[in-house]
Amino acid sequence: MEAVQPNVGFVFGLFAAIIITSALLVVTLKNIFHCALALIVCLTGVAGIFVLLHAEFLAAVQVLIYVGAVSVLIIFSVMLTSNLASRRIVQTNQNALVAGFAALIFGAGALLLLKLHDIWPKAGSALPDDNVMTIGKLLMTDYMLPFEVVSVLMLAAMIGAIVLARGERS
Protein backbone atom coordinates (compact mmCIF):
# COMPACT_ATOMS: atom_id res chain seq x y z
CA MET A 1 0.00 0.00 0.00
CA GLU A 2 2.88 2.39 0.82
CA ALA A 3 3.98 2.61 -2.81
CA VAL A 4 0.74 4.38 -3.71
CA GLN A 5 1.07 7.19 -1.16
CA PRO A 6 2.82 9.98 -3.15
CA ASN A 7 -0.30 10.80 -5.16
CA VAL A 8 -2.71 10.90 -2.24
CA GLY A 9 -2.65 14.69 -2.14
CA PHE A 10 -3.57 14.94 -5.81
CA VAL A 11 -6.36 12.36 -5.53
CA PHE A 12 -7.71 14.07 -2.44
CA GLY A 13 -7.75 17.38 -4.28
CA LEU A 14 -9.59 15.77 -7.17
CA PHE A 15 -12.28 14.31 -4.93
CA ALA A 16 -12.57 17.54 -2.96
CA ALA A 17 -13.04 19.49 -6.18
CA ILE A 18 -15.71 17.04 -7.35
CA ILE A 19 -17.53 17.23 -4.02
CA ILE A 20 -17.48 21.01 -3.76
CA THR A 21 -18.45 21.60 -7.38
CA SER A 22 -21.33 19.15 -7.28
CA ALA A 23 -22.47 20.41 -3.88
CA LEU A 24 -22.64 23.92 -5.29
CA LEU A 25 -24.55 22.61 -8.28
CA VAL A 26 -27.05 20.93 -5.95
CA VAL A 27 -28.11 24.28 -4.55
CA THR A 28 -27.77 26.43 -7.66
CA LEU A 29 -29.15 24.39 -10.55
CA LYS A 30 -32.64 25.35 -11.64
CA ASN A 31 -34.01 21.95 -12.57
CA ILE A 32 -34.70 19.88 -9.48
CA PHE A 33 -33.95 16.59 -11.21
CA HIS A 34 -30.49 17.89 -12.12
CA CYS A 35 -30.01 18.92 -8.50
CA ALA A 36 -30.71 15.36 -7.44
CA LEU A 37 -28.18 14.07 -9.98
CA ALA A 38 -25.55 16.51 -8.71
CA LEU A 39 -26.25 15.28 -5.18
CA ILE A 40 -25.47 11.74 -6.33
CA VAL A 41 -22.13 12.84 -7.74
CA CYS A 42 -21.39 14.66 -4.49
CA LEU A 43 -22.17 11.62 -2.32
CA THR A 44 -20.08 9.37 -4.56
CA GLY A 45 -17.18 11.78 -4.14
CA VAL A 46 -17.47 11.41 -0.37
CA ALA A 47 -17.24 7.65 -0.82
CA GLY A 48 -14.04 8.27 -2.79
CA ILE A 49 -12.58 10.18 0.17
CA PHE A 50 -13.45 7.26 2.44
CA VAL A 51 -11.57 4.87 0.16
CA LEU A 52 -8.61 7.21 0.26
CA LEU A 53 -8.66 7.01 4.06
CA HIS A 54 -8.70 3.18 3.93
CA ALA A 55 -12.22 3.16 5.35
CA GLU A 56 -13.49 0.71 2.74
CA PHE A 57 -16.46 -0.32 4.82
CA LEU A 58 -17.68 3.26 5.17
CA ALA A 59 -17.15 3.81 1.45
CA ALA A 60 -19.22 0.77 0.51
CA VAL A 61 -21.96 1.72 2.95
CA GLN A 62 -21.90 5.31 1.70
CA VAL A 63 -22.51 4.10 -1.85
CA LEU A 64 -25.03 1.46 -0.79
CA ILE A 65 -27.14 3.69 1.46
CA TYR A 66 -26.74 7.23 0.21
CA VAL A 67 -26.17 6.72 -3.49
CA GLY A 68 -28.04 3.46 -3.92
CA ALA A 69 -31.03 4.01 -1.68
CA VAL A 70 -31.55 7.56 -0.40
CA SER A 71 -30.87 9.26 -3.72
CA VAL A 72 -33.04 6.76 -5.57
CA LEU A 73 -35.85 7.70 -3.19
CA ILE A 74 -35.26 11.39 -3.84
CA ILE A 75 -35.31 10.89 -7.60
CA PHE A 76 -38.33 8.66 -7.28
CA SER A 77 -40.25 11.31 -5.39
CA VAL A 78 -39.21 13.97 -7.89
CA MET A 79 -40.53 11.82 -10.71
CA LEU A 80 -43.78 11.17 -8.88
CA THR A 81 -44.50 14.69 -7.66
CA SER A 82 -43.81 16.41 -10.93
CA ASN A 83 -46.51 16.38 -13.50
CA LEU A 84 -45.48 13.11 -15.12
CA ALA A 85 -44.46 14.26 -18.55
CA SER A 86 -43.21 17.73 -17.72
CA ARG A 87 -39.73 18.49 -16.53
CA ARG A 88 -40.52 21.96 -15.30
CA ILE A 89 -40.15 21.67 -11.57
CA VAL A 90 -37.99 24.65 -10.78
CA GLN A 91 -35.94 24.89 -7.66
CA THR A 92 -36.65 27.96 -5.60
CA ASN A 93 -34.08 29.23 -3.17
CA GLN A 94 -36.41 31.12 -0.83
CA ASN A 95 -34.75 29.66 2.24
CA ALA A 96 -31.25 30.41 1.04
CA LEU A 97 -30.50 32.84 3.88
CA VAL A 98 -31.73 30.59 6.67
CA ALA A 99 -30.06 27.55 5.14
CA GLY A 100 -26.79 29.41 4.69
CA PHE A 101 -26.92 30.51 8.32
CA ALA A 102 -27.62 26.95 9.52
CA ALA A 103 -24.77 25.60 7.39
CA LEU A 104 -22.46 28.26 8.80
CA ILE A 105 -23.32 27.38 12.41
CA PHE A 106 -22.90 23.68 11.72
CA GLY A 107 -19.57 24.19 9.98
CA ALA A 108 -18.28 26.47 12.72
CA GLY A 109 -19.46 24.02 15.39
CA ALA A 110 -17.70 21.12 13.69
CA LEU A 111 -14.49 23.11 13.37
CA LEU A 112 -14.67 24.15 17.00
CA LEU A 113 -15.17 20.58 18.16
CA LEU A 114 -12.18 19.46 16.12
CA LYS A 115 -10.06 22.23 17.62
CA LEU A 116 -11.09 21.27 21.15
CA HIS A 117 -10.67 17.52 20.81
CA ASP A 118 -7.62 16.30 18.99
CA ILE A 119 -9.19 13.15 17.59
CA TRP A 120 -7.38 12.68 14.30
CA PRO A 121 -5.15 9.64 14.11
CA LYS A 122 -1.60 10.69 13.35
CA ALA A 123 0.06 9.76 10.09
CA GLY A 124 1.78 6.43 10.34
CA SER A 125 -0.36 5.07 13.15
CA ALA A 126 -1.53 1.52 12.56
CA LEU A 127 -4.85 0.93 10.83
CA PRO A 128 -7.17 -1.62 12.38
CA ASP A 129 -7.08 -4.81 10.33
CA ASP A 130 -10.75 -5.39 10.16
CA ASN A 131 -12.64 -2.17 10.38
CA VAL A 132 -16.02 -3.84 9.90
CA MET A 133 -15.54 -5.86 13.07
CA THR A 134 -14.19 -2.85 14.95
CA ILE A 135 -17.07 -0.60 13.94
CA GLY A 136 -19.60 -3.29 14.82
CA LYS A 137 -18.13 -3.84 18.27
CA LEU A 138 -17.91 -0.12 18.99
CA LEU A 139 -21.52 0.44 17.95
CA MET A 140 -22.68 -2.29 20.31
CA THR A 141 -20.52 -1.20 23.28
CA ASP A 142 -19.16 2.35 23.54
CA TYR A 143 -21.67 3.96 21.21
CA MET A 144 -24.70 1.93 22.22
CA LEU A 145 -26.74 4.91 23.39
CA PRO A 146 -26.24 7.16 20.33
CA PHE A 147 -26.92 4.15 18.12
CA GLU A 148 -30.23 3.45 19.84
CA VAL A 149 -31.18 7.13 19.84
CA VAL A 150 -30.65 7.22 16.08
CA SER A 151 -32.83 4.12 15.70
CA VAL A 152 -35.65 5.78 17.65
CA LEU A 153 -35.25 8.90 15.53
CA MET A 154 -35.56 6.78 12.38
CA LEU A 155 -38.68 5.14 13.74
CA ALA A 156 -40.17 8.54 14.50
CA ALA A 157 -39.36 9.69 10.96
CA MET A 158 -41.03 6.59 9.50
CA ILE A 159 -44.18 7.08 11.56
CA GLY A 160 -44.19 10.74 10.60
CA ALA A 161 -43.90 9.86 6.92
CA ILE A 162 -46.80 7.43 7.17
CA VAL A 163 -48.97 10.00 8.93
CA LEU A 164 -48.15 12.61 6.29
CA ALA A 165 -48.77 10.19 3.45
CA ARG A 166 -52.14 9.12 4.80
CA GLY A 167 -53.36 12.71 4.91
CA GLU A 168 -56.31 14.03 6.88
CA ARG A 169 -58.88 11.32 6.23
CA SER A 170 -59.75 8.55 8.72
Binding site: A60, V63, G68, I75, F76, M79, A85, V132
Partner: protein, 330 residues
Protein backbone atom coordinates in the same frame (compact mmCIF):
# COMPACT_ATOMS: atom_id res chain seq x y z
CA UNK B 1 4.23 -3.07 -8.38
CA UNK B 2 4.57 -3.11 -12.16
CA UNK B 3 4.17 -6.85 -12.22
CA UNK B 4 0.96 -6.54 -10.19
CA UNK B 5 -0.43 -3.96 -12.61
CA UNK B 6 0.38 -6.10 -15.64
CA UNK B 7 -1.09 -9.22 -14.03
CA UNK B 8 -4.26 -7.36 -13.03
CA UNK B 9 -4.65 -5.84 -16.48
CA UNK B 10 -4.35 -9.23 -18.14
CA UNK B 11 -6.94 -10.65 -15.76
CA UNK B 12 -9.27 -7.71 -16.38
CA UNK B 13 -9.01 -8.18 -20.14
CA UNK B 14 -9.64 -11.93 -19.92
CA UNK B 15 -12.60 -11.49 -17.59
CA UNK B 16 -14.14 -8.71 -19.69
CA UNK B 17 -13.80 -10.74 -22.88
CA UNK B 18 -15.29 -13.76 -21.16
CA UNK B 19 -18.18 -11.79 -19.71
CA UNK B 20 -19.02 -9.97 -22.94
CA UNK B 21 -18.86 -13.19 -24.94
CA UNK B 22 -20.93 -14.75 -22.20
CA UNK B 23 -23.52 -12.01 -22.59
CA UNK B 24 -23.68 -12.52 -26.35
CA UNK B 25 -24.11 -16.25 -25.99
CA UNK B 26 -26.53 -15.85 -23.09
CA UNK B 27 -28.91 -14.28 -25.62
CA UNK B 28 -28.37 -17.27 -27.90
CA UNK B 29 -28.89 -19.68 -25.02
CA UNK B 30 -32.02 -17.89 -23.97
CA UNK B 31 -33.52 -18.00 -27.45
CA UNK B 32 -32.61 -21.64 -27.98
CA UNK B 33 -33.78 -22.87 -24.58
CA UNK B 34 -37.04 -20.96 -24.72
CA UNK B 35 -37.55 -22.19 -28.28
CA UNK B 36 -37.12 -25.84 -27.26
CA UNK B 37 -39.42 -25.36 -24.32
CA UNK B 38 -42.05 -24.00 -26.72
CA UNK B 39 -41.51 -26.64 -29.39
CA UNK B 40 -39.77 -24.32 -31.79
CA UNK B 41 -36.30 -24.47 -33.29
CA UNK B 42 -34.93 -21.05 -32.46
CA UNK B 43 -32.10 -19.31 -34.33
CA UNK B 44 -30.69 -21.77 -36.83
CA UNK B 45 -29.61 -19.91 -40.02
CA UNK B 46 -26.36 -18.16 -39.07
CA UNK B 47 -23.69 -20.84 -38.79
CA UNK B 48 -24.15 -24.42 -37.56
CA UNK B 49 -27.10 -24.60 -35.12
CA UNK B 50 -27.31 -20.82 -35.44
CA UNK B 51 -24.17 -20.44 -33.38
CA UNK B 52 -23.10 -17.29 -35.22
CA UNK B 53 -26.41 -15.55 -34.52
CA UNK B 54 -25.09 -13.41 -31.57
CA UNK B 55 -22.24 -12.15 -33.74
CA UNK B 56 -24.60 -11.30 -36.56
CA UNK B 57 -26.84 -9.50 -34.06
CA UNK B 58 -23.93 -7.53 -32.64
CA UNK B 59 -22.82 -6.37 -36.10
CA UNK B 60 -26.37 -5.47 -37.04
CA UNK B 61 -26.77 -3.50 -33.80
CA UNK B 62 -23.55 -1.56 -34.33
CA UNK B 63 -24.44 -0.48 -37.87
CA UNK B 64 -27.99 0.64 -37.22
CA UNK B 65 -28.84 4.30 -37.27
CA UNK B 66 -28.66 5.98 -33.89
CA UNK B 67 -32.00 7.76 -33.68
CA UNK B 68 -32.19 10.48 -31.05
CA UNK B 69 -35.72 11.86 -30.61
CA UNK B 70 -36.18 15.64 -30.49
CA UNK B 71 -37.53 15.87 -26.97
CA UNK B 72 -34.72 14.10 -25.18
CA UNK B 73 -32.40 15.78 -22.73
CA UNK B 74 -29.12 15.25 -24.52
CA UNK B 75 -26.63 14.80 -21.72
CA UNK B 76 -28.63 12.57 -19.40
CA UNK B 77 -29.91 10.67 -22.42
CA UNK B 78 -26.32 9.90 -23.43
CA UNK B 79 -25.27 9.07 -19.86
CA UNK B 80 -28.06 6.59 -19.18
CA UNK B 81 -26.75 3.60 -21.20
CA UNK B 82 -23.31 4.06 -19.68
CA UNK B 83 -24.75 4.28 -16.18
CA UNK B 84 -26.52 1.00 -16.83
CA UNK B 85 -23.61 -0.76 -18.53
CA UNK B 86 -20.66 0.09 -16.28
CA UNK B 87 -21.95 -1.08 -12.85
CA UNK B 88 -22.98 -4.42 -14.31
CA UNK B 89 -19.38 -5.04 -15.38
CA UNK B 90 -17.76 -3.64 -12.21
CA UNK B 91 -19.16 -6.47 -10.10
CA UNK B 92 -16.85 -8.96 -11.78
CA UNK B 93 -13.83 -7.21 -10.24
CA UNK B 94 -14.31 -9.02 -6.92
CA UNK B 95 -15.76 -12.36 -8.02
CA UNK B 96 -13.29 -15.21 -7.41
CA UNK B 97 -13.25 -17.23 -10.61
CA UNK B 98 -10.75 -19.93 -9.79
CA UNK B 99 -8.36 -21.23 -7.15
CA UNK B 100 -4.90 -19.73 -6.91
CA UNK B 101 -2.52 -21.56 -9.22
CA UNK B 102 1.03 -21.36 -10.48
CA UNK B 103 1.61 -20.41 -14.09
CA UNK B 104 5.16 -20.45 -15.50
CA UNK B 105 6.61 -20.06 -12.04
CA UNK B 106 4.32 -17.25 -10.93
CA UNK B 107 1.59 -17.40 -8.34
CA UNK B 108 -1.68 -16.31 -9.93
CA UNK B 109 -4.70 -15.41 -7.79
CA UNK B 110 -8.08 -16.38 -9.18
CA UNK B 111 -9.70 -13.00 -8.55
CA UNK B 112 -9.01 -9.56 -9.97
CA UNK B 113 -9.17 -7.80 -6.61
CA UNK B 114 -9.71 -9.53 -3.29
CA UNK B 115 -11.35 -6.75 -1.28
CA UNK B 116 -11.94 -7.55 2.36
CA UNK B 117 -15.41 -6.04 1.98
CA UNK B 118 -16.04 -7.89 -1.30
CA UNK B 119 -19.68 -8.74 -0.80
CA UNK B 120 -20.55 -5.21 0.29
CA UNK B 121 -18.82 -3.90 -2.82
CA UNK B 122 -21.02 -6.15 -4.93
CA UNK B 123 -24.17 -4.87 -3.30
CA UNK B 124 -23.08 -1.24 -3.41
CA UNK B 125 -22.37 -1.50 -7.13
CA UNK B 126 -25.55 -3.45 -7.85
CA UNK B 127 -27.56 -0.72 -6.17
CA UNK B 128 -26.22 1.76 -8.74
CA UNK B 129 -27.70 -0.18 -11.63
CA UNK B 130 -31.07 1.50 -11.15
CA UNK B 131 -29.70 4.87 -12.25
CA UNK B 132 -29.26 3.86 -15.85
CA UNK B 133 -32.92 2.95 -15.97
CA UNK B 134 -34.12 6.02 -14.10
CA UNK B 135 -32.03 8.38 -16.21
CA UNK B 136 -33.20 6.74 -19.40
CA UNK B 137 -36.82 6.92 -18.30
CA UNK B 138 -36.62 10.54 -17.34
CA UNK B 139 -34.49 11.93 -20.16
CA UNK B 140 -36.28 10.24 -23.05
CA UNK B 141 -39.22 12.61 -22.91
CA UNK B 142 -41.66 9.79 -23.57
CA UNK B 143 -44.42 8.57 -21.29
CA UNK B 144 -43.59 4.91 -21.84
CA UNK B 145 -40.00 5.46 -20.86
CA UNK B 146 -41.03 7.48 -17.84
CA UNK B 147 -43.47 4.83 -16.66
CA UNK B 148 -40.77 2.22 -17.09
CA UNK B 149 -38.30 4.31 -15.13
CA UNK B 150 -40.73 4.92 -12.26
CA UNK B 151 -41.73 1.30 -12.06
CA UNK B 152 -38.14 0.27 -12.04
CA UNK B 153 -37.11 2.54 -9.21
CA UNK B 154 -40.13 1.46 -7.14
CA UNK B 155 -39.31 -2.17 -7.80
CA UNK B 156 -35.65 -1.79 -6.94
CA UNK B 157 -36.41 0.05 -3.70
CA UNK B 158 -38.84 -2.68 -2.72
CA UNK B 159 -36.48 -5.54 -3.41
CA UNK B 160 -33.16 -4.03 -2.45
CA UNK B 161 -33.76 -4.45 1.28
CA UNK B 162 -34.73 -8.11 1.10
CA UNK B 163 -31.89 -8.66 -1.36
CA UNK B 164 -29.37 -7.28 1.09
CA UNK B 165 -30.87 -9.07 4.09
CA UNK B 166 -31.00 -12.41 2.27
CA UNK B 167 -27.22 -12.73 2.28
CA UNK B 168 -26.58 -11.40 5.78
CA UNK B 169 -27.31 -14.92 7.08
CA UNK B 170 -24.40 -16.32 5.09
CA UNK B 171 -22.13 -13.55 6.32
CA UNK B 172 -23.14 -14.22 9.93
CA UNK B 173 -22.21 -17.88 9.60
CA UNK B 174 -19.07 -17.30 7.58
CA UNK B 175 -17.87 -14.38 9.68
CA UNK B 176 -16.21 -12.71 6.70
CA UNK B 177 -17.12 -10.30 3.91
CA UNK B 178 -14.41 -11.45 1.54
CA UNK B 179 -15.77 -13.49 -1.35
CA UNK B 180 -12.55 -15.43 -1.60
CA UNK B 181 -12.69 -16.56 2.01
CA UNK B 182 -16.36 -17.43 1.54
CA UNK B 183 -15.41 -19.80 -1.26
CA UNK B 184 -12.53 -21.29 0.67
CA UNK B 185 -14.85 -22.13 3.55
CA UNK B 186 -17.14 -24.17 1.27
CA UNK B 187 -14.52 -26.78 0.45
CA UNK B 188 -16.83 -29.78 0.04
CA UNK B 189 -20.36 -30.09 -1.20
CA UNK B 190 -21.57 -30.62 2.39
CA UNK B 191 -20.13 -27.27 3.40
CA UNK B 192 -21.98 -25.32 0.74
CA UNK B 193 -23.92 -22.53 2.37
CA UNK B 194 -27.11 -23.50 0.60
CA UNK B 195 -27.54 -26.29 3.16
CA UNK B 196 -27.16 -23.90 6.07
CA UNK B 197 -29.14 -21.09 4.46
CA UNK B 198 -31.85 -22.66 2.28
CA UNK B 199 -34.32 -19.86 2.94
CA UNK B 200 -31.61 -17.28 2.42
CA UNK B 201 -30.85 -18.82 -0.95
CA UNK B 202 -34.48 -18.77 -2.09
CA UNK B 203 -34.78 -15.15 -1.02
CA UNK B 204 -31.55 -14.28 -2.80
CA UNK B 205 -32.73 -15.98 -5.96
CA UNK B 206 -36.12 -14.27 -5.98
CA UNK B 207 -34.75 -10.83 -5.20
CA UNK B 208 -31.95 -11.26 -7.72
CA UNK B 209 -34.49 -11.89 -10.46
CA UNK B 210 -36.39 -8.78 -9.42
CA UNK B 211 -33.18 -6.75 -9.26
CA UNK B 212 -32.17 -7.76 -12.74
CA UNK B 213 -35.66 -7.01 -14.08
CA UNK B 214 -36.17 -10.45 -15.50
CA UNK B 215 -39.40 -12.31 -15.96
CA UNK B 216 -41.59 -12.85 -13.97
CA UNK B 217 -40.58 -9.46 -12.53
CA UNK B 218 -39.74 -7.61 -15.74
CA UNK B 219 -42.29 -4.84 -15.22
CA UNK B 220 -39.97 -1.97 -16.16
CA UNK B 221 -39.96 -3.23 -19.71
CA UNK B 222 -43.26 -5.01 -19.93
CA UNK B 223 -43.54 -5.14 -23.72
CA UNK B 224 -47.27 -5.55 -23.83
CA UNK B 225 -47.97 -2.43 -21.76
CA UNK B 226 -45.02 -0.11 -22.11
CA UNK B 227 -43.70 -0.80 -25.63
CA UNK B 228 -40.05 -1.16 -24.55
CA UNK B 229 -40.20 0.48 -21.14
CA UNK B 230 -37.27 2.67 -20.23
CA UNK B 231 -35.35 1.96 -23.44
CA UNK B 232 -38.22 2.67 -25.83
CA UNK B 233 -36.44 5.72 -27.28
CA UNK B 234 -33.04 4.12 -27.60
CA UNK B 235 -31.66 2.55 -30.73
CA UNK B 236 -28.49 1.17 -32.22
CA UNK B 237 -25.51 0.88 -29.92
CA UNK B 238 -27.06 2.74 -27.02
CA UNK B 239 -29.82 0.14 -26.95
CA UNK B 240 -27.19 -2.58 -27.20
CA UNK B 241 -25.52 -1.22 -24.06
CA UNK B 242 -28.75 -1.58 -22.08
CA UNK B 243 -29.15 -5.03 -23.51
CA UNK B 244 -25.62 -6.16 -22.68
CA UNK B 245 -25.95 -4.55 -19.26
CA UNK B 246 -29.03 -6.61 -18.54
CA UNK B 247 -27.36 -9.87 -19.50
CA UNK B 248 -24.15 -8.93 -17.68
CA UNK B 249 -26.31 -8.36 -14.61
CA UNK B 250 -27.81 -11.82 -14.98
CA UNK B 251 -24.36 -13.34 -15.20
CA UNK B 252 -23.19 -11.23 -12.26
CA UNK B 253 -25.96 -12.34 -9.91
CA UNK B 254 -25.39 -15.92 -11.06
CA UNK B 255 -21.70 -15.59 -10.23
CA UNK B 256 -22.41 -14.07 -6.82
CA UNK B 257 -25.04 -16.70 -6.10
CA UNK B 258 -22.59 -19.43 -7.04
CA UNK B 259 -19.93 -17.89 -4.83
CA UNK B 260 -22.19 -17.43 -1.83
CA UNK B 261 -24.21 -20.61 -1.85
CA UNK B 262 -22.60 -23.19 -4.14
CA UNK B 263 -18.94 -23.07 -3.26
CA UNK B 264 -17.72 -20.99 -6.21
CA UNK B 265 -14.86 -22.75 -7.99
CA UNK B 266 -14.69 -25.58 -5.45
CA UNK B 267 -15.16 -29.01 -6.99
CA UNK B 268 -13.58 -32.45 -7.18
CA UNK B 269 -11.22 -33.91 -9.85
CA UNK B 270 -9.85 -30.73 -11.39
CA UNK B 271 -6.44 -29.20 -10.53
CA UNK B 272 -6.36 -25.61 -9.21
CA UNK B 273 -5.57 -24.14 -12.62
CA UNK B 274 -8.71 -25.63 -14.14
CA UNK B 275 -11.06 -25.02 -11.21
CA UNK B 276 -12.61 -22.20 -13.21
CA UNK B 277 -14.44 -24.95 -15.14
CA UNK B 278 -16.49 -25.84 -12.06
CA UNK B 279 -17.30 -22.19 -11.64
CA UNK B 280 -18.51 -21.89 -15.22
CA UNK B 281 -20.62 -25.04 -14.91
CA UNK B 282 -22.33 -23.75 -11.79
CA UNK B 283 -22.97 -20.33 -13.29
CA UNK B 284 -24.35 -22.03 -16.39
CA UNK B 285 -26.86 -23.96 -14.26
CA UNK B 286 -27.93 -20.69 -12.65
CA UNK B 287 -28.45 -19.08 -16.05
CA UNK B 288 -30.41 -22.07 -17.27
CA UNK B 289 -32.66 -21.78 -14.25
CA UNK B 290 -33.22 -18.10 -15.04
CA UNK B 291 -34.30 -18.89 -18.57
CA UNK B 292 -36.38 -21.82 -17.43
CA UNK B 293 -38.28 -19.47 -15.11
CA UNK B 294 -38.82 -17.05 -17.95
CA UNK B 295 -40.35 -19.75 -20.10
CA UNK B 296 -42.58 -20.97 -17.26
CA UNK B 297 -44.11 -18.06 -15.39
CA UNK B 298 -46.38 -15.24 -16.50
CA UNK B 299 -45.54 -11.69 -15.48
CA UNK B 300 -46.62 -10.39 -12.08
CA UNK B 301 -49.08 -7.54 -11.92
CA UNK B 302 -47.60 -4.35 -10.49
CA UNK B 303 -49.47 -4.36 -7.16
CA UNK B 304 -48.82 -8.09 -6.76
CA UNK B 305 -45.14 -7.42 -7.20
CA UNK B 306 -45.15 -4.73 -4.51
CA UNK B 307 -47.20 -6.83 -2.09
CA UNK B 308 -44.95 -9.81 -2.64
CA UNK B 309 -41.83 -7.78 -2.00
CA UNK B 310 -42.95 -6.04 1.17
CA UNK B 311 -45.37 -8.50 2.73
CA UNK B 312 -43.73 -11.82 1.90
CA UNK B 313 -40.05 -11.46 1.06
CA UNK B 314 -39.16 -8.77 3.56
CA UNK B 315 -40.67 -10.48 6.66
CA UNK B 316 -39.16 -13.79 5.56
CA UNK B 317 -35.75 -12.16 5.22
CA UNK B 318 -36.01 -10.67 8.71
CA UNK B 319 -37.11 -14.00 10.21
CA UNK B 320 -34.25 -15.75 8.43
CA UNK B 321 -31.81 -13.21 9.82
CA UNK B 322 -33.17 -13.53 13.38
CA UNK B 323 -33.10 -17.32 13.36
CA UNK B 324 -29.59 -17.40 11.90
CA UNK B 325 -28.41 -14.88 14.46
CA UNK B 326 -29.87 -16.91 17.31
CA UNK B 327 -28.26 -20.12 16.05
CA UNK B 328 -24.88 -18.46 15.58
CA UNK B 329 -25.03 -17.01 19.11
CA UNK B 330 -26.13 -20.30 20.55
Amino acid sequence: MLEMIVASSIKVIIVMLAVLTGCAYATYMERKVVAFMQHRIGPSYAGPYGLLQPIADAIKMAFKEDVVPDKVERITYALAPIASFVPSLLVFAVVPFSADFTLVGRQVTGVISDLNIGILFVFAITSLGVYGIVLAGWSSGSKYSLMGGIRSSAQMISYEISYGLSIVGVILIANTLSLRQLVEQQDTILHWYIWKQPLGFLLYLTCAIAETNRLPFDLPEAESELVGGYHTEYSSFRFAMFFIGEYANMIAVSCVGTTLFFGGWQGPFLPAGLSVIWFVIKVFCFMFFYIWLRATFPRFRYDQLMNFGWKVLFPLAVVNLLVTGLIVLW
